[in-house]
Amino acid sequence: MIALLLVLIPLIGGGLTLFLPRPALARPVALNVALISLIAVLLGLCQFTQAANWSYDAEWIQPIGARFSLKGDVLAKWMSLLSSIGAVLSILGSWNTDRKLPARFYGLLLWMQAGMSIVFLASDAFLFYFGWELALIPAYFLSSIWGGEKRIAVTIKFFIYTFVGSVLMLIGLIYLQQLTPDGSFQWQAFRNLELTESKQIWLFWLFFLAFAIKVPLFPFHTWQPDAYEQAPTPITLLLSGVMVKMGVVAMIRWLLPILGIGAFIWSDVVICLAVVGILYASLIAIRQDDLKRLIAYSSIAHMGLTVAALFSLTGFSNNSNVVLHYHHIGFQGVMLQLFSHGVNIMGMWLLADRIESRFGTRKLSELGGLARTAPTFTIFFVIIALANIALPLTNAFPGEFLQFNAIFHAQSSYRIVFLVFSGLGVILSAIYTLNMIRRIFFGETNSATENGLRLTTAETLALSLVVMVVLVFGIYPQAALNFTNDFSWEYVKSIDITRFLAK
């Protein structure tokens, strides 16, 4: 029931918002819809935790064997929490911005959330694909109508890029479906396939490309900085906070358990791409003058680390409990970081948006001295920025630490190289983040920044929510670790590829 609600609330709410008679109502209605789905997730996490509440199954397109089935495992619950927090933040954060056609803006935004909910919850591959695209279409319109100057060219690039990936994935899905005995798209049916090595080697790329483009992984990232820069900030927030997580979630659910051998064989290549991406994006971030682009590149670096850690988990476990144990905590790191990075980057976008709307510029060179004129804002900014570089006592620290752990215990013979270079990424991220803080908040004030910056109630609320999450999970990460513990054990056992190799 909860699972279905998480899809239906934003879907119906979005439809209602689109056709509201009075545009002024759009914002409060959308906020309420987002809050209701947040409440639904929380209820599902605390009260209605039974599996029955989190699953739903119905006939859908019978001729092709697709079913409308949703299933909320811990990963899905975790990501649903993130996506509903994201929707609330994105609406709260843009509360004081007046846009043209607000009813359409917020309606599409909610539809985007519906699509993402489907992706996180679907246990039917066809439905998953459906949600994957459903999240993309509203994002396309949102960025193209309300975006920046170069929005039209940039968003079509973004759209076609991701579309190529997803249609290739569609072929993979059809191929797997035709191999299942009853022509079904169910996750379990795919999982039972036991594909041979020679098939997995190439099938892997059909899926991986789609996910890598979404994450985005170097060298498939070229759409991302432009798209983040040009999209309106509430949408950038959702894109980078939630939507790119779809890529990692899809790898976790649809790639590693189903194409385990493929993932293992290519894991060195993938980790290599991820590590190169970390360095590449961090180096570019250091040279950025545009705040939004800087955050965009930092996001590539962070997601690269997550992917590297995830692919370090593939490989032989030989059923040895030691290896399993390291895999387990490594995977917990991935889970933690999915959430933490999502929240932190959303906080960063809120702050960037505030700066842009107040001073009309995102250029670091045109800012300065804000620490004196806007102290509250500075405190928020510094906390969230430090969380972004994974300082201890912030939520990103345990996640990143465990991820490095995963890379260190990888089966690859290059693991030390990978570890060293991805570790360099942390130092680089400290450089660009602290540099950014220095250029915005310290130094001389100029005519623009002299008058400071006041936060409205809605923005303070949104930022406090982020800071709360940062500190709570930073000081007591055990809460999150407990939550993901059992699932992680199950998961690392399930991606053990010895069952394939025994054949």
Partner: protein, 459 residues
């Protein structure tokens, strides 16, 4: 066979109405009623109510596939009449004759879809194309229309000749025109039979404008009056494809080892040429002409893959592609400036029509939630298991991504650009918008639940 007799009778009726001197509005109503009756009579036949049975199994045999396809065609025909019948009056003076010709074409559809003899296929194709030559040249004072008509006629006649030659060779090899006896019991084809097969194959490929036999298409579609382009590019093409699939599935299916690879090559060529050329078009009409070639490439995947998925896919493809293209053409006919720029800023003045256009364009591009996506999905499903299926399918989806570029260019113009100075958009009549809404709803409905249409294939 309900439709065959009714369509012929109505065609004759429309022909005589032209000399009766009644008003155009009445003529239009009579034509629309007639098309409605065609649709209802096919639905009735699907339910087992046959008004008129033609018992000639050696010539014609109606099966579920033919009936479902015919109901799709006549249903789309009805919507086409409701949307575009008024615009036909602007083409020329012979209003009633245009309708008569279209009804005759529907007779041809019946033959093309239900032939059991190669002769009937030939007759059907001819009955469909000869009225089309006339319709293409209907704008008599327009040189482009004349040119298109002549071009179409010469090339069409030539390809018909090739088809006849193919039929003759097949007859020579097998001693029969029946599609049931095209292949001997041994299953090993003679050279004569193969020669005939490929001649028929190429000429049908010409009729459905598959590359490299597509060169006539852009000129003819561009030159013909836009209302008739809409009809030619959709219903006629779909019917020809349905016949193509019927012949090569039932008739030559067991010989597929010798021709299937060529179907794949043609499909790939068509997809690449159609999509790549469409990218460079400035005029929406010409873009749609190339897009119709590109879409033909996808339908060709059905002929390449064969099987139940191909049949279901062809029906779904026919419906989704026809609906969307008819809708776009109906709006396009009313636009003053028919280039992509002509659509700039339409959403600001006509938000509802723009939303409907968006549905059509998204469906043509094959975006989920629309029928176009599921139609493509079926075609991929049909083609994937075939020999080299994976390679063909990968080309197909990459080309589908290319098609997003040019379909979305219109979308960008509508939604994201400001209207140019001094351009005014036509006012759309409420009735027109209502029908257009029905078309869009059908597309979304089929995109969510294709079973509502496809189950008629089996029950």
């Amino acid at each position: 066979m309900n439709l065959l007799l009714l369509a012929a009778a109505w065609g004759v009726l429309m022909m005589f109405l032209s000399v009766s001197g009644i008003s155009r509005a009445t003529i239009r109503t009579i034509a629309q009623v007639g098309m409605g009756l065609l649709f209802l009579s096919t639905i009735a036949e699907l339910q087992g109510i046959v008004f008129y049975d033609l018992n000639a199994p050696a010539m014609l045999g109606v099966d579920r596939y033919a009936l479902v396809m015919l109901s799709v065609l006549s249903g789309c025909g009805l919507l086409y009449f409701l949307l575009s019948a008024k615009d036909m009056a602007d083409v020329g003076a012979d209003y009633s004759e245009y309708f008569a010709l279209i009804f005759f074409i529907f007779c041809g559809f019946v033959l093309v879809l239900s032939f059991t003899s190669l002769l009937m296929l030939f007759l059907g194709i001819e009955i469909v194309t000869i009225p089309l030559y006339i319709l293409t040249g209907a704008d008599k004072r327009n040189l482009k229309s004349n040119e298109a008509s002549l071009k179409y006629f010469l090339l069409g006649a030539f390809s018909t000749g090739i088809m006849l030659m193919g039929i003759a060779l097949v007859y020579g090899a097998r001693g029969s025109f029946s599609t049931l006896e095209l292949v001997g019991a041994s299953g090993i084809p003679t050279q004569l039979l193969l020669g005939g097969l490929f001649l028929i194959f190429f000429s049908l490929a010409f009729k459905v404008s598959v590359a490299p036999f597509h060169f006539w298409t852009p000129d003819v579609y561009d030159g013909a009056p836009t209302v008739f382009t809409s009809f030619m590019a959709t219903l006629v093409k779909v019917a020809a494809f349905a016949g193509f699939l019927r012949l090569f599935d039932h008739g030559f299916g067991s010989l597929k080892s010798s021709w299937q690879i060529w179907a794949g090559v043609l499909a790939v060529l068509t997809l690449i040429i159609g999509n790549m050329t469409a990218v460079y078009q400035q005029s929406v009409k010409r873009m749609l002409a190339y897009s119709s070639i590109a879409q033909a490439g996808f339908m060709m995947l059905g002929v390449y893959g064969l099987g139940d998925a191909a049949k279901e896919g062809m029906i779904l493809y026919g419906a989704s592609y026809s609906l969307a293209t008819i809708g776009i053409f109906a709006v396009l006919t009313r636009m003053q400036d028919q280039t992509v720029e002509g659509f700039n800023g339409l959403a600001k003045q006509q938000p509802w029509v723009s939303a409907l256009l968006a549905v059509f364009l998204l469906s043509l591009a094959g975006i989920p939630l629309t029928a176009g996506f599921l139609a493509k999905f079926y075609m991929l499903q049909a083609a994937l298991p075939a020999t080299y299926g994976m390679a063909v399918v990968i080309v197909a989806v990459i080309m589908a991504a290319v098609s997003v570029y040019y379909y979305f260019r219109v979308l960008q113009a509508i939604y994201f650009r400001e209207p140019s100075e001094g351009v005014s958009f036509p006012a759309f009549a409420p009735g027109f918008v209502r029908v257009l809404t029905i078309v869009a709803l059908l597309i979304i409905l089929l995109g969510l639940q294709p079973g509502w249409l496809l189950r008629y294939l089996y029950f």
